[in-house]
Point group: C2
Chain length 162, copies 2
């Protein structure tokens, strides 16, 4: 049995006590942008209840065109106005460089990715970078309630980046 | 008090009983790609425990370059081998077209986004489209354990797309 099959068995149990449907627009008007890291359960970390917030995640919790796309849809079509950014300690993105990662792919496959890997050497700096990218986007209308945090995987606490 | 401040109060309570840190690589070697929708708590839906799986999310749960970037990092650097894709019923992406959305942004800001909005008219077709994009990518090494699902926001159940 694959891990996916195990998770499908979990889903059958989950549906037994599921109550739905909730409304489509996020009830608390918040969008979260966080790293994909396996230790970052944003529902637990923020105490998010079902239906409250959009959750956007990728390697690093960085802001690229796809996060601008998601935030534009979140704010323009579904009414969110606040943005919470979450990076975290012990992040994989601190352990390599774009050049080395892309070179290893090129050496193995013969093709160099046309995208940036978005590795970064400093967590706080990259949170600020993500905020700056959102603030510079003409496509995200609500840019005055954006706050960025680093989640500590040892303590469970969020630390705000100023 | 902003909603963000409320969530920070939740975080302080969360950290009281937090036990960490867990290891960086996902313990179950799985990456999930799901829609950002507020009703899609992937931890509940799949019974994911902390530390088990990468979670990648965006508007629609679609696969663009940024999801290929995240999956490449997930598989090449952090050892995941299975991919679970999740779209869902009552998705916002079913309610507009790329042309109309981008026109409305152009009319309001004077600038047309250079990215696709990735709206879609059919859930099953877009799940298959997402699988096809991953299978076509030379940058994602493990492409033989990819399965796609539609989550029903009324029942809580996942339905596999064949």
């Amino acid at each position: 049995m694959s891990v996916t099959d195990e998770y499908l068995a979990n889903n059958a149990a989950y549906a037994q006590s599921f109550v739905g449907p909730l409304p489509l627009p996020p009830a608390r008007n918040v969008a979260v942008v966080a790293c994909m890291d396996a230790r970052l359960n944003v529902y637990g970390i923020l105490g998010l209840a079902d239906g409250e917030a959009h959750v956007i995640r990728n390697a690093g919790g960085v802001v690229t065109d796809d996060e601008i796309r998601s935030l534009a849809i979140s704010q323009r079509l579904l009414g969110t106005t606040e943005i919470i950014l979450i990076h975290h300690t012990d992040c994989g993105m601190l352990t390599f460089t774009d050049d080395d990662f892309k070179r290893s792919i090129q050496d193995e496959t013969g093709i160099k990715p046309e995208w940036a890997a978005e590795a970064f050497p400093d967590l706080d700096e990259d949170v600020r970078q993500s905020i700056a990218r959102i603030k510079a986007s003409p496509f995200v209308p609500h840019r005055d309630a954006i706050r960025g945090f680093v989640f500590d995987v040892a303590t469970g606490l969020l630390k705000e980046v100023s």
